[in-house]
């Protein structure tokens, strides 16, 4: 199965009630797959007239307490930013998948990681965050779906899966987490007593993001921030390998992390001590783990399929304790093991006294 299909089936198994989407490459397998499978499951599939409409259909379904998602690729995700800001403000849970392609503008349809800033720093207007995952294999793409829905429900927050064109298109063997398996790790989720289900025998529920009274939006922001601090505390995820004795630590996420890992292994074979830190959640970012690793003064090498976005968060985490170097390729360029290895070798050259 390709990553797009694996993720789609995993979402269905995670109890997806409604999928809304608009065609865009390289994620078209999702809409096609959903159109078939959701009707088989007698659940909701709508091909919308635009990404603006798709994200607002998600908003509507989420407001009634249903599990809902959309998927798109970079230019389409830009169109959704208005809706994502409203979802975050109204605290509605949902999942948004971005199979990133080259940008800016129409860019191309090649894989990219150019939407990191957009996803983890907000993207839409206002002070808000979404939980952002960066899977690095087709299996992880699928495994993250039930977790993304659960965390979205638990914290009443949109969850974004930041994948790229390679992960979306690549075929790998995958085991889809099924309903029965999900129960083993399903969180105890709060009841959705805020949902719009008709005010039958209870007080009216209102889902809103406008607060006109003086100080009300300020307070709403403080409440959101308190929630974000909880998420940072509880939900930061990353994978560390060979970090303890490393002279060089590569920080990379998604498909880049797999390429980086291979380069690190080859470097070890040459006697260069290279470790890897792979953020699995991009927000919350594993700043603490990186900061701790920085105490031993390795050189950090950040590899991205962009001109350097996540590197800013690595620098913030390292806080000047040790050098942070960036190497990446934007606009559909894919880093190779050889190039990363070359960069590693450069970093081992001692400066002349």
């Amino acid at each position: 199965m390709c990553g797009n299909e694996a993720m789609a089936e995993a979402a269905i198994q995670a109890g997806l009630d409604a999928y809304f989407g608009y065609p865009i490459t390289p994620q078209n397998e999702v809409t096609a797959y959903m159109s078939q499978r959701m009707s088989e499951e007698k659940r909701v599939f709508v091909q919308s007239e635009s990404e603006l409409a798709a994200i607002n259909m998600v908003f509507g379904a989420a407001a009634t307490g249903k599990r809902t998602m959309t998927s798109s690729s970079s230019p389409g995700i830009s169109l959704m930013q208005e809706g994502i800001s409203y979802l975050a403000a109204a605290e509605l849970p949902c999942v948004i998948v971005n199979v990133m392609r080259g940008g800016p503008g129409l860019g191309n349809i090649a894989p990219s990681q150019g939407d990191y800033f957009q996803s983890v720093k907000g993207g839409g207007h206002g002070d808000y965050h979404c939980i952002v995952f960066g899977p690095s294999s087709v299996q992880e793409f699928a495994d993250i779906m039930p977790l993304a829905f659960d965390l979205a429900d638990k914290y009443r927050i949109p969850a974004i899966i930041l994948a790229d064109g390679i992960l979306g298109q690549m075929m790998e063997p995958v085991v889809i987490p099924t309903n029965s398996k999900l129960n083993t790790h399903k969180l105890k989720l709060p009841k959705k007593d805020w949902a719009l289900t008709g005010a039958d025998g209870r007080k009216q529920n209102i889902v809103r993001s406008l607060w006109l009274a003086e100080g009300a939006v300020e307070q709403h922001n403080y409440d959101l921030q308190a929630k974000y601090r909880q998420i940072e505390k509880n939900e930061t995820r990353c994978e560390q390998s060979d970090v303890d004795d490393a002279d060089i630590i590569i920080v990379a996420y998604g498909i880049c992390a797999r390429i980086a890992r291979r380069a690190a292994q080859q470097a070890r074979e040459q006697g260069i001590k290279v470790g890897c830190i792979r953020p699995i959640t991009l927000w919350p970012f594993p700043s603490e783990q990186i900061s701790k690793a920085a105490d031993k003064s390795p050189i950090f090498l950040v590899v991205e399929m962009s001109c350097g976005q996540m590197v800013e968060d690595v620098r913030l985490a390292v806080a000047g304790k040790t050098p942070v170097v960036f190497w990446g390729r934007p606009g559909g360029g894919i880093p190779t093991v050889e190039k990363i290895l070359e960069k590693i070798e450069q970093l081992t050259i001692k400066p002349k006294k």
Binding site: L52, F59, G60, L196, T197, Q204, V207, R208
Partner: protein, 244 residues
């Protein structure tokens, strides 16, 4: 003492924020009366627009959501598709439905979504300070047409209901005026029919356009505003059933 008229239960006892002579108050009451008469209070979900009626949930005692400008028909689609047993309505002004939300309303009708849409046309953007709307009359003075709207450069008034009526997915489209007791009674009957269609699972979208007075930004007294609808607006926006 005998009670001859009282507030219908779904209309909340809440101090109005609307201007004197505004049509929203009448439209709100009509919608609430219809909801109560049809006995659908407990299963109705309403959608407030961006515009003067953004706080509609302060008046309607049903579950309600406030959505981004113009996106109500898309939000309604998400709600109704996942909750076919609920009655979903959107309440939208002319800026919301006829300007920024044109795509959403056309495509919701085009997909034959089973929704009830209440479209308040007062020919002006009220909340932002009386700017030109797509439905602004030719010659009408607004904050952004200080010399009066000219067709050359500012276009003609947009008849959205007529556009929607040609779509097979729109099963009922009627334009009424909130401009006299008789007109208001007709408007209520139209609203009731629009809700009944959804209750009866009719396959398509129903929309009632209400020509509504905005004395503040028309720079008229409330009675003159009513007469303006009857004598001028109806020439451009003729009253009556367009479909269904």
């Amino acid at each position: 003492m005998q009670t001859v008229f009282k507030r219908t239960p779904t209309l909340k006892d809440y101090p109005t924020h609307y201007c004197p002579g505004c049509g929203h108050g009448i439209a709100h009451r009509l919608v609430c009366e219809v909801i109560d008469e049809l006995g659908i209070h407990g299963k109705t979900i309403g959608i407030a627009p961006v515009g003067c009626a953004v706080l509609a949930y302060d008046y309607f005692d049903v579950d309600m959501v406030e959505v981004a400008h113009g996106r109500a028909p898309a939000v309604a689609t998400g709600m109704k598709r996942t909750n076919p047993d609920k009655i979903v309505f959107s309440y939208q002004g002319d800026g919301d439905l006829a300007a920024i939300g044109t795509a959403e309303i056309i495509h919701a009708a085009h997909r034959a979504e089973q929704l009830t849409v209440i479209f308040i046309n007062n020919a002006v953007f009220g909340m932002t300070g009386g700017q030109m709307a797509p439905t602004t009359m030719l010659g009408q003075i607004t904050a952004t047409t200080p010399q009066g709207r000219q067709a050359d450069g500012q276009g003609y008034p947009l008849n959205v209901s007529e556009l929607l009526a040609v779509l097979p997915g729109a099963i009922y489209v009627e334009r009424c005026g909130l401009c006299s007791p008789a007109h208001i009674r007709k408007a209520k009957a139209a609203l009731k029919h629009a809700f009944e269609l959804q209750i009866n699972n009719a396959k398509g979208l129903s929309l009632v356009e209400l020509l509504s007075p905005c004395p503040t930004y028309w720079r008229m007294t409330p009675p003159d505003s009513m007469l303006y609808i009857q004598n001028e607006m109806t020439k451009v926006f003729p009253l009556g059933k367009l479909k269904g």
